[in-house]
Amino acid sequence: MNKTSKIDIPHLDEKVYKHTTEEGLEIHIMEKKGFSKKYAFFGTRYGSIDNSFVADGKYHDMPHGIAHFLEHKVFEEEKGDVFEIFSKSGAKSNAYTSHDSTNYLFSCTDRFYKNLETLIDFVQKLNIDKNSVDKEKGIIKQEIMMYEDNPEWRAYINTLKLMYPEHPVHIDIAGTVESIKEIDKERLETCYRTFYSPNNMIVFLIGDIDRFKAIDVIKKTITQDFKKRNSKIERIVHEDLGPVDKEIHRESLSIASPIFYMGIKCHQDFEAESDILKKEIFVDIFLNSMLGKGSNLYNDLYEKGMIGKNFGYDYNYGSAYGYILIGGESEKPEETYDILKAKFVEFLGKDPKREDFDRIKKKLKGESLIYLNSLDYIANAYVSAHHKGIDFFNYFKELEKFDYETYASMQKNYRIEGKTVLSVVYPNSGEVS
């Protein structure tokens, strides 16, 4: 405790310094010389899936969207607005809530340590009253309505509802217009005191930064009240392992052509970080070789007009959930889904081609170098991985080691039967008048 360790990633020419304070707050610093912008994140492992929990012996079941609501309120200060304080120092501030975490951040080119102090200071405090909570409901209602009009978001959230009817990952991160009515000052304070504690949080800094100075600023800004908050959190995990029950969901919006997402439920059932990463690398190689622009299937579907320009795929996972998402625009979404399903089964039964494996591995290595140009990308990905118990750079280390034999055996043992779902948003009429 209270010491710094250095982690080198020699083949990428990067290093990260990790420091843990006596209270258990982790501070990770990545030095990037020569960049103008500096980013700081202060995040807690508390997201939309943490609605039910036991804290200090008491069971709580919170309204949907409360983690996100809390994110909005933490920004409020006694003396005025956090946005204003950052703005005065030339910094841009923001925050976001995901399934598993809430993160507060700023970026700036100047006065970094002053801004760092502001960030650490405001996240440690919650100043709310009934009035300010009620006022926020109007703003969040508009945020929810904005997503109602977004067809990709609708298709995405419906995929989650099909795959995980029990697990809270299916809940809209912002909640619903109805559920946020249940949110009040007391509930917000309970969640805040439970999850905004040193051992549940991380500070991540990236840029041309003096790490000694930064650690010093953080330690000086941490309050006694914050240090004392070390409640034992017991998250209620809603296991949702079975095959999918309802496979297809359809709805309609004012759009011109259908938008679909195919979901493949792939639950993470291992504990070790290296196993989780191997699975991630397997899925990345698998999806790229099946559906990348260099694949037969992609080209076949594209030429037949079954998929369009915005076709894409992704893999995501967290506590007791994991899923592959494939989708975009399609004139015949249900037919496309059937073809994809059949081709997946066919592909998984075969031995992979070694040349495809080599080609995709090269591609993944090159892509990671492109991503590492962006501090913004690194910061988001690093913090997001950390909240899932993963060291971001271990992905690259595992990728170097990942060989054809490992891949081939994983592909042979992978099954998708009973795990796939389809969500489509059809045009209802779409015309403008």
Binding site: H11, L12, D13, F35, S36, K37, D81, F83, S87, K88, S89, G90, A91, K92, T109, D110, K135, K137, G138, I139, I140, Q142, E143, M145, M146, E148, D149, N150, P151, L253, S254, I255, A256, S257, I259, G292, G294, S295, N296, Y298, N299, G305, G308, K309, E329, R359, K362, K363, K365, G366, E367, L369, I370, N373, L375, N428, S429, G430, V432, S433
Partner: protein, 427 residues
């Protein structure tokens, strides 16, 4: 020229800009063809960017083209079009890992020669682009235009511009026009391609860790450009007489109304008041501490997102927000009130300093991203503005309240576009 950037005139109207920097783990190349934005040509240029992703003489099949890129360590190739005022730019770009980080030491040469293959030897059948590729891309391009309504906010923004610039080239959609696309064929497009190669001003950018002389030489060796017979593109109309605002409402089956307000500023980018205008915009709606965000979101809870932005080439300022349908009139009044109050000087020294800091910070961070560097300098070349970034920062630092008020003096509301709900149909 710009500090750190060297310019080489490869031949008349073809310039190469090179930047050597150790900051990135990748090398980036961009080739930009400048075209006049017009309704006749926009669809063709958009189609070129699409069809030229599909295959080359050496790699006729799309699959094989992308497999080759995978083998170049996932080199990212993109071709697309962007609108800069009344110009349409066809951009071919490639980013790939620098040879210091991978085993392949000749990746630069291979990637340059690949980009040359894509730009100069697209797959064709005789004197036409491949009919199959052409038809598939044409269908997708038409779909893209039809799908404009999927993103309601972007759609409302486009519609406001179309209304505000009716009959002017600026109202042309850079993705083309469905009726014109339907008339096109692979032969016409190939003729157009030949013409673009001959008559465009071309600017090439390279950002790399490596020795400049080496890659300038490489470009000269691999790229087959002739002298360009291009005519300079005229400056777009940007001064407009005062008129009463027009209100346009359209209806769609949606959950939230989308409001876009178009103002004219009559401040050209060549004018010394242009930078003060940017400061005005930053205070008004540039971020979370702006007047619009603080008053309409934080104080009145009327919206989640609201922002303002300046259109450089046409001297316009836009405000956009998503709101409840029945709050439209209230929000329109509040936005106008905020604009008017600012014009009257209701902002303090601190607002001014914050806005300047925010803009200066954005300028400083351009050098953190190869894409930002290319786009920033390209925009500067298009506007014939060759002042150093340091000098621009100094100019921003010197801006005072009086200059901001002078810049804002002529701002007036021209168009209010609202995307409204359909509501119940009454027979």
């Amino acid at each position: 020229m710009f500090k750190g950037i060297e310019v080489h005139e490869l031949s008349p109207n073809i310039n190469l800009y090179t930047l050597k920097t150790k900051q990135f783990k990748t090398d980036s190349v961009g080739i930009f063809f400048e075209r006049r934005l017009s309704n006749e040509e926009a669809s063709k240029n958009a189609m070129l960017a699409a069809v030229m992703k599909r295959g080359t003489q050496k790699f006729p099949m799309t699959r094989d083209l992308y497999r080759e890129l995978d083998n170049l360590y996932g080199a990212v190739y993109s071709s697309n079009i962007s609108k800069y005022g009344e110009r349409q730019i066809i951009k071919f770009q490639m980013q790939f890992p620098d040879c210091n980080y991978i085993e392949d030491k000749s990746i630069f040469e291979k990637s340059i020669s690949m980009l040359n293959e894509i730009v100069n030897h697209p797959f064709r059948e005789g004197n036409s682009f491949s009919q199959d590729y052409f038809e598939q891309e044409k269908k997708n391009q038409i779909l893209k235009l039809e799908n404009r309504i999927n993103n309601k906010m972007a759609y409302a923004f486009d519609r406001c511009i179309e209304e505000m610039y009716k009959g002017e080239p600026f109202s042309v959609n850079e993705d083309g026009d469905i009726r014109i696309l339907e008339e096109l064929d692979g032969k016409t497009l190939y003729d157009h391609y030949k013409n673009v190669l001959k008559t465009s001003k071309v600017d090439i950018f390279i950002i790399s860790r490596n020795d400049r002389n080496h890659y300038a030489g490489e470009i000269l060796r691999s790229f087959e450009f002739k002298n360009q017979k291009s005519k300079p593109i005229a400056r777009e109309k940007h001064i407009y007489p005062f008129v009463k605002p027009s209100f346009v409402t359209e209806k769609m089956d949606i959950a939230q109304g989308k409001l876009v307000m178009g103002f004219r500023t009559n401040i050209p980018y060549e004018d010394s008041l242009y930078r003060p205008l940017l400061v005005f915009n930053e205070i008004l709606g540039g971020g979370t501490y702006s007047k619009l965000f603080q008053n309409i979101r934080e104080k009145e809870s009327l919206c989640y997102g609201i922002f303002s932005t300046v259109e450089k080439f046409k001297s316009a300022l836009f405000v956009a927000s998503g709101i409840d349908f029945d709050k439209k009139d209230i929000v329109v009044d509040l936005i106008q009130e905020q604009v008017e109050k600012m014009k009257e000087g209701f902002f303090d020294e601190e607002d001014l300093e914050n806005a300047k800091k925010s803009i200066i910070s954005s300028i400083n961070s351009i050098k953190d991203s190869p894409n930002k560097i290319m786009n920033y300098y390209y925009s500067r070349i298009l506007t014939n503005s060759y002042i150093e970034a340091d000098e621009i920062i100094k100019q921003f630092e010197a801006i005072d309240k009086e200059m901001v008020l002078k810049a804002a003096g002529g701002i007036f509301l021209d168009t209010v576009y609202f995307l409204d709900e359909k509501g119940e149909l009454i027979e």
